[in-house]
Subunit: 124 residues, 2 copies
């Protein structure tokens, strides 16, 4: 049996870029909404995505409503009846937007590696 | 006299990257803290910086305390007495960290212009 070590405080530096796109006063997409899109894609419903992210169904629904209203086509489509009642999927626009968002994160991180290193070196 | 036009809702897309560096559970620096550093540099005191940013002195002070604790040297130095009582300046570490942070923002934006354009084109 492994001996239990006291948990130490995690002090490893972690760097994120958190892109945010506004449409007027609305945040059309940002890190939380992107994660929610991904969770819907994985979980197949808004309820399951909300649960996976530890947020209320109402909050997930409102975030999706905002996203759907900001883009030229809805990003998430729900089934209201039939055997797939309650199911939700990403539309083609939803998949495109999520892929672009992730690419922006990746490219931003890649383009700034030297600066991130210098910044982290300033941490104690 | 100019005729008053009804104000229309602003729908122009605006894209930001909002870098965030953690040290353990603390956000060592992010967009709000970077703006606060800049405001201290401009205003010359925490009180004036807080006022310029529309935040309470206490909140500004706590954000600075967190930053100062995360980096190997304080980013903001205050004067507690003498004729400059209440004055605050960025230290050399403070100026270095702020410059690196702004450079990361600039380089991230520059590296992702094509993706940003494609993303914005998905907006309605």
């Amino acid at each position: 049996m492994k001996s239990s070590r006291p948990r130490h405080k995690e002090v490893r530096p972690e760097f994120q870029v958190r892109p945010r796109l506004y449409r007027g006063a609305d945040i059309a997409i940002g890190p939380g909404k992107a994660d929610l899109l991904e969770a819907v894609h994985r979980a197949g419903s808004i309820a399951a995505a909300a649960e996976a992210m530890g947020m209320s169904y109402m909050r997930a629904w409102m975030l999706i409503r905002t996203m759907n209203g900001c883009f030229k086509a809805p990003l998430v489509q729900t089934k209201r009846g039939g055997s797939k009642r309650g199911a939700a999927i990403l539309t083609e626009t939803g998949r495109t937007v999520l892929a672009l968002y992730r690419r922006i994160e990746t490219r931003s991180l890649k383009a700034t590696q030297a600066d991130q290193k210098q910044l982290s070196e300033q941490l104690r």
